[in-house]
Each structure stands twice: as structure tokens, then as C-alpha cells.
Amino acid sequence: MKKSKDKSLVRVFMIVMFFVFILLFTYSSLNLKNIDYGYRMHELILREKALKEKVDKLRAQKASLLNLKRVERIVKKKLNYQYPRPDQFVKVFENK
């Protein structure tokens, strides 16, 4: 009688322990996942920041390449272009 009572108590204890284990496992795995997401999020934030900085640097570079003084120097000296004189303009009318 006493032996069977002990056995049922052990079974209850095992079941409780099983659920406690599952609970702890789920909790810790969720926590770990959370931490992992934290790492990934930070990595993505860093990448986004780096990309934004790169875009800014490229925009600045593009703007300095389009520097009007530089463009004019190239156009005048390398391509030998010059500004048109007013008499070089031709007005084109469309006959209706």
C-alpha cells in the first residue's frame, strides 16, 4: 500500500518536473532568441548607418565633381568651348 503510494508520488513529481523543465526551456530559448535578435538588430542598424554615411559621402563627392568651376575649366580648356555671342543666336519660327 505504502509502496504504491510512493510510486504515484514519484510519478506526480516526474510530471511536475517535466513541465517545469519545458517551461524553463521555453523561457530560456525565447530569451536566447531575443538576445540573438538584439545582435542582428544592432548589426542591421550599423549596416544602415554605414550605408547612409556612404550615400552622404558619395553625394558630397558627386557635388564636388560637378563643381561649376571645375566643369567650366574642363569645358573651356580641354574641350575648347566658349560662350555664344548674342549674334550667334538664331530664332526659329514655325509657319502656321
Binding site: 538584439g38 545582435y39 557635388a63 563643381n67 567650366e72 548674342p86 549674334d87 530664332k91
Partner: protein, 568 residues
């Protein structure tokens, strides 16, 4: 059953006691750490893995009206030395100083700080990319107690170099606006710093981020300036100032209908990046800060006032006393003597005596009222710092001859931007329009500025036709361009030095085109030109050169000869 003797039982008991004490000790320690010393240890853990970082806001970008970048902030590293041993730090610095560009003074300063044993020493703020790469290599190869470190910062870049420098201004080492638009709208463009709390693991990797205060990036600004117009205006201004060996000069171009500034150039130019090394004299924006006697350009205000108050009509004849006119112990001269001139001829030929006679007829009350309406003696309200009010004495302080001298632009001090606004009153058909330089803030277009009608359309029309004649047959002939009607007025004013008028001049020219439906109003001031000094000879040719380039850029085609017309 095995028998256990007394000796063995004692041993088991001792073992049990020792084991129990050990277990109790562990339990005690656990309880102590987790319960009693909880706060102490949790703060220790937090200090090891919790970090709070300040986040620097990114300063807004400044664009011109077409979206071309005029000023932008980019990431840059700043290098510092954490000094733990003076001798070692000095050795590291001698290595570093070969890789970064530093002035003799800066090097000396750093050495002094090392010798004084300062713990934190800036090597260079905002390194160039190449410099950073070189220093990074040095940092990795170092094996000493003193260390080289880097801090992330932003660096302001002006890709167009000196272009529109006086409009843009510049920033200091901590990205604070120092002058120009950078200073004026610093609170808008600067943004707000933030704070972030992060959790760091044993490897120094961040795995949790919490914003304590989100950073707010500075707002992006679009100016009304057109960098293409600004570019060729600056080029032509530089040529003129250098040709006449003038002290300084300024050109302002505005959209006649809306008052938007399309170009504002002040010479000498400067590089905003080198603002720290630029003198105050050069930093001064001539367009808004230069006070001068306007001279004959001011006659258009007088004429407008006379017409508006109906004291004269355009064909009215005035005695011009053959070039010399005496009034209250003062003598006024004309460069070219005239016996008699009509009202419009007085403006066309820029007769001082004629202007004085109109002024006397107009009366000081009427004239003063007009001057106030045109906004003289007060700021235009443009979004640029250091704008001068100008000097307009109150009516009570006017002497018996004030109205005479004010008639041809003396006894008053104005700024080029005030004169531009005044010329634009006639160009716009009688409206006083506040000049504006901000087009939009963060994509939100700013509302159109309020216009105030201060002279009638008919006065505007008469003035336009008189000013067109100034360019066609008068003192502004050098501005004439075939096929396009330009209205303008020249000005030459003596400068006051040490309390009296001396033989140094300010040459100016203001005008607008196409005269009858104006799109562009321009005002030019050249300070102390050498050799030639008349407005018609110094400023007017510059007006013509700029106008020729503007016509092409804005697709305003002059009425050309039949030979230049093709019908298809």
C-alpha cells in the same frame, strides 16, 4: 547486514557535518549575493555590460533651388591620445605627426599638453579618410600603455568651395553655425542630440539597444539661390573688382515678381572650410552689411516720390543753373553743366542740381514719408545675419539742406540689399517685396512673402520708361543690349573718410529686365575702384556682362535682326 562500528559512524558524522557546513556556506553565499547584496552586484553587472552613448545629430544639408548640394555633413573620425606615460606618448605622437597634416603651432600645442601630463589630448579633429586609414594602422601596431583612440564626428563639407560662401557662412569645429545662413537658422539645421543605452556582452558586442532620447536630425534646407547663376556672377564680379583694383564688391540678383534671391555675391570670397583662418573683413557679407551713401541711384526714389505726390510731371522743365547751384552756403555741382532739363532728363543725365530742385519742390515731409515706405533705415528682414539697418535720420534731425543732399543720395546710408529691394519696387509695378533666400525647409515650401503696394502702377510705368532711357541714351549706355529693354540707373558716390568726403568712390548700378515685364532685378556695388570710378563705367559694364549670360541661362531671347530669324 554490515555492521558499522563506532569509529566509522564518527567518521561519517564528521563527513556529514563538513558537507553540511559546506552546503550551508554555499547557501549562505548565494543568499548574501542574491538577496542581501543584490543591489551592489546588480549595479556592478550593469556597469560592466550597460553603456550609455550620446548620439550626435547630423546637420541638415543645404541645397540650391535646383537641388544641388551646397553644404553637407559627412562622418569623420577624430583622433585622440590617451596619455598614461609622457615619454611613450611623445614617441607615439612623433609617429602620428608624420601621417597627419598639422601646423607647427598645433604640433607645439600637443607636445606641451603631453609634457604637462594631460590625460586626454586631441591629435586632430575630423581626419581626412587617408589620414584615418594611416592612423588606424599605427593604432593596431602600438604596444604601449598610452593609447590612440578615435571618436565618430560629423564634418561639414562645401563641395562648391567658395561658391556663395557669404550666403552659406560656415560652421565651427563642433558644427555650430558661425555666420551666414548656417548661423541664422542654426536651430533648424543643427538637429538635437540623443542618448542610447546598450547592453554589451563579454566580447564587447551590443545585443540590446534602448533609446533614452531619440536624436533628431537637422532639417534639410533649400535656398532660392541658383548655383549656376551664382557661379557666373561671382566670376564676373571677381574680374571687375580685380580689373579696377577695387576694395570690395557685391552683386545681388532677385526674381522681380517674388523677391527670391537668385544670386548674392560678395567679393573678396573665402572658403567656408577655412573660416577659422579668415579675417572678419573678408567674412563680412557686403550685400547686407556694407553701409554707403547711394549717390545717384537714389534719384529713382526721389523721382518716384515726386510723381507719386504729384508735385511734378515727366515733361516739367527745371533750371539747372549751368552746373553750379548755391543753396544756404553750400554749392552743388553737375559733372556736365545743363541750363535747363525736363524732369525725365534730370534722371536720364543724372543731374544733381536738377535732383536738388525736384527735392525742394517735393518738400522734406513728403520725401521722408516715401523713404520710410521704401524701407530705408530698417532691415529688409532677409534670413541672413549681420544685416545693417542703414542710417536715415529722423525728420527732426534734418537740416535746411538735408532734402537737397538726400535728393541725390547723400546724408543717408544704405545697404546693397536695401537698394535692390527699392529698385524692385519699380520692377514689380510698385510693390515692396521682402527679399527671401529660403525656399523650403525639409520639403515644406515656405509661403510666398507678403507684397505691399507702395507706389501706383502709373508711377511705376513712368519710372520704368525713364530708367529705360537712362540705359538707351543716358548715363547707363554701357548696359545697352540690342533687342532687349533694360531699365536702370547709375550711381557714383564719394566716400566719407575721417569725417569728410574724400576722393574715393562707390560705383553702383541697379536695373531690371525685360523692362516692361521684369523677371530679373539686379544691383551692383563696387567699392573704391581705381582709375575709372563712375557707375556708368565700372558697374554698368558688369551689369551688361552678367545680363548677357543670364539671358542665355534663363532663355530670354532678345528681339534680334531679321538675319537671325528663320521661319520653318
Amino acid at each position: 547486514m554490515m555492521k558499522i562500528n563506532k569509529k566509522e559512524r564518527n567518521r561519517a558524522f564528521i563527513l556529514f557535518v563538513v558537507f553540511s557546513i559546506w552546503v550551508l556556506f554555499i547557501v549562505y553565499k548565494l543568499v548574501k549575493i542574491q538577496v542581501f547584496d543584490y543591489t551592489k552586484y546588480i549595479s556592478k553587472v550593469k556597469s560592466q555590460c550597460n553603456r550609455i552613448f550620446s548620439l550626435h545629430p547630423k546637420r541638415g544639408t543645404i541645397y540650391d533651388c535646383n537641388g544641388d548640394v551646397l553644404a553637407i555633413s559627412i562622418r569623420a573620425e577624430s583622433a585622440f591620445l590617451s596619455n598614461k606615460d609622457n615619454k611613450e606618448s611623445m614617441e607615439i605622437f612623433s609617429l602620428l605627426s608624420k601621417q597627419v597634416r598639422l601646423t607647427y603651432r598645433e604640433k607645439k600645442n600637443i607636445k606641451e599638453r603631453i609634457n604637462k601630463g594631460r590625460k586626454f589630448i586631441w591629435i586632430k579633429r575630423k581626419l581626412e579618410d587617408r589620414e584615418y586609414e594611416k592612423l588606424k594602422k599605427i593604432k593596431n601596431s602600438l604596444n604601449s600603455t598610452s593609447t590612440l583612440g578615435f571618436v565618430d564626428e560629423y564634418k561639414r563639407v562645401y563641395p562648391q568651395k567658395t561658391l556663395a560662401a557669404h550666403v552659406l557662412g560656415g560652421v565651427g569645429i563642433d558644427e555650430q553655425g558661425l555666420c551666414g545662413i548656417e548661423y541664422e537658422i542654426d536651430s533648424l539645421i543643427r538637429g538635437k542630440g540623443g542618448k542610447v543605452k546598450v547592453l554589451i556582452d563579454a566580447r564587447g558586442k551590443i545585443f540590446e539597444i534602448e533609446y533614452l532620447k531619440k536624436p533628431v536630425a537637422g532639417k534639410d534646407i533649400f535656398l532660392t539661390i541658383d548655383s549656376s547663376i551664382q557661379f557666373f556672377v561671382e566670376e564676373e564680379l571677381r574680374r571687375t573688382v580685380e580689373k579696377f583694383r577695387a576694395k570690395k564688391g557685391s552683386v545681388i540678383i532677385i526674381d522681380s515678381k517674388h523677391g527670391s534671391i537668385l544670386a548674392m555675391a560678395s567679393y573678396p570670397f573665402y572658403d567656408p572650410v577655412r573660416i577659422k583662418h579668415t579675417s572678419q573683413r573678408v567674412l563680412k557679407n557686403v550685400a547686407v552689411s556694407f553701409l554707403y551713401d547711394p549717390g545717384s541711384t537714389f534719384k529713382i526714389i526721389l523721382a518716384s516720390s515726386a510723381l507719386e505726390n504729384e508735385v511734378c510731371h515727366p515733361k516739367q522743365i527745371f533750371n539747372c543753373y549751368n552746373g553750379t547751384f548755391h543753396i544756404k552756403n553750400r554749392t552743388i555741382h553737375d559733372i556736365h553743366p545743363y541750363e535747363r532739363l525736363t524732369f525725365e532728363e534730370i534722371i536720364i543725365n543724372s543731374s544733381n542740381i536738377g535732383a536738388a530742385r525736384i527735392g525742394l519742390r517735393l518738400g522734406k515731409e513728403n520725401y521722408y514719408r516715401t523713404l520710410k515706405r521704401f524701407g530705408f533705415g530698417s532691415k529688409t528682414g532677409i534670413n541672413l545675419p549681420a544685416e545693417e539697418y542703414g542710417i536715415l535720420n529722423s525728420l527732426k534731425r534734418w537740416s535746411n539742406v538735408s532734402v537737397v543732399f538726400l535728393s541725390f543720395g547723400y546724408e543717408i546710408a544704405v545697404t546693397p540689399i536695401q537698394m535692390t529691394r527699392a529698385f524692385n519696387v519699380i520692377a514689380s509695378g510698385g510693390y515692396l517685396i521682402k527679399p527671401n533666400i529660403l525656399k523650403s525647409v525639409d520639403g515644406i515650401v515656405l509661403p510666398q512673402v507678403k507684397k505691399t503696394k507702395i507706389i501706383s502702377s502709373s508711377t511705376g510705368h513712368i519710372m520704368t520708361s525713364i530708367m529705360t532711357e537712362v540705359v538707351n541714351i543716358g548715363t547707363g549706355k554701357q548696359t545697352k543690349i540690342e533687342g532687349i529693354d533694360i531699365a536702370g540707373k547709375t550711381g557714383t558716390a564719394k566716400k566719407i573718410k575721417n569725417g569728410s568726403y574724400e576722393n574715393s568712390y562707390v560705383s553702383s548700378f541697379g536695373g531690371f529686365f525685360p523692362a516692361n515685364n521684369s523677371r530679373i532685378t539686379m544691383f551692383i556695388v563696387i567699392d573704391e575702384p581705381k582709375g575709372k570710378f563712375y557707375g556708368g563705367e565700372v558697374a554698368a559694364p558688369l551689369f551688361k556682362t552678367i545680363t548677357n549670360r543670364l539671358l542665355i541661362y534663363l532663355n530670354i531671347f532678345p528681339e534680334l535682326d531679321k538675319g537671325n530669324e528663320v521661319r520653318i
